[in-house]
Symmetry: D2
């Protein structure tokens, strides 16, 4: 893979996301970028009442948004702020019901090509050891 | 498949969903059940400002929630109000950027077994002819 | 979608596949192209002893190859014989155990873009009414 | 997860697979079990002429079979020789064209429940450092 190392800092990327995707904070800020590394990104989701489901579990769509965001952040960190990068596919396995605690999405890029990037995200409850959801996603990168 | 025909009416199912999943209307009601048929369900999503992304397109997570809801509704309509039915996997192909119009999710069940149900959802813009997103999902049905 | 209509005949496409992918007939010819239509293709698989599994069912890998071939045939029929078109992702739901009968894969393209094509395949046993496997796939089309 | 540790040895499992799935060696033995560990399995595929595609790359269906086998082996190693365990879904991302070398599939189980097991497989060329294919799969485990 061409660029194994991020070319944006965590702070620059967070500022870019806040500016381009203010809707991700609709209803109150809950997603935050925790770390960027070589082909990786970690994103945190603090849950609000609106993310809960009967029984106190965190909703599937909240986790899907967390995974999409972690993949998107990891890719942009390595290719720069290309807002036209688009999700072409996402696949999720829901493994366990997450308890009402913050969620952590650990993203690892598996491929970072010129036209397509592919990665996986492992989602855990904060301080939990078992994965609650696993995701893979593909993104189309526009020609320069 | 055992039950090719729905055993709940659209109104009973809508009332059940409103009661059990009030969070799906957080921020304002936008999802509504339009029709239930043999192994099918149609769900509509009216978009709000919070569902938009830069360029005026409707967000991926909104479509993912629409697909999950359409699958869930189709299954419950055929097996009855079993709230413990859970999503085990979902996979999405994002085909075209949806314009800022209501979205329609057409669900068709491919399998309705004792333990697992599988279906697909085709999402269109209202009065549009080209699919904007295709989803498949698997749900685990609790033992009686 | 630009090209709703195939630009290769079934016979030309079958000849191209035989020439470029002779391995698909390794062990004896079992896959054959049955029909090409607007955004569609139908491929047939006659089973051999080597495709069976305990209990007389047809193996998963045989169905996966059938789906890949049906998608590939549908795409090439519409864009011409571009051998460098490559599979980037495939996803399968195995719905029922297929009986030892010929399988039919019905492919429908959902998107035929300049860089990516996406389609689904529904696999049935010959003269059976229930789907045995559902697949979706994405293919990368080389720049001209 | 209930059983973090395998209850079958590699040799017992290999003997079971040879007995129950002799078809996997049709055309000549190419798949072999290399290692079983806590929630993991490693399977090797030595390629034959029949697994090659134009340009000398190894075919997608060969990798799909390798992934299915690695997942199946990992599950059986932990639950015992339950031949009725069936694949319910498989999803693949094809990342790079594998060179004509042996392939190694590293499987890790993400969930091992009473009714469903979920895992991922990372496929590498022997002595290569970049993943060529990533797979996830779900298996239904029969009630005892």
């Amino acid at each position: 893979m061409a660029n194994h190392h991020p070319i944006m800092t965590k702070d620059d990327l967070a500022a870019f996301l806040d500016r381009e995707f203010p809707q991700m904070h609709a209803g109150g800020r809950s997603y935050s970028l925790e770390e960027i590394g070589p082909l990786t990104a970690r994103v945190r989701m603090d849950y609000h009442e609106r993310h809960l489901r009967p029984g106190g579990t965190i909703s599937g769509p909240s986790m899907m948004m967390l995974a999409d965001l972690a993949l998107y952040a990891a890719i942009l960190a390595h290719i720069g702020p290309v807002a036209l990068t688009v999700t072409t596919s996402l696949a999720f396995n829901f493994l366990r019901k997450p308890e009402p605690r913050a969620l952590i999405g650990e993203c690892r890029l598996l491929k970072l090509g010129k036209r397509l990037a592919v990665g996986e995200v492992s989602i855990y409850s904060e301080s939990g050891s078992e994965m609650v959801c696993h995701a893979t996603g593909t993104y189309s990168i526009p020609a320069k």
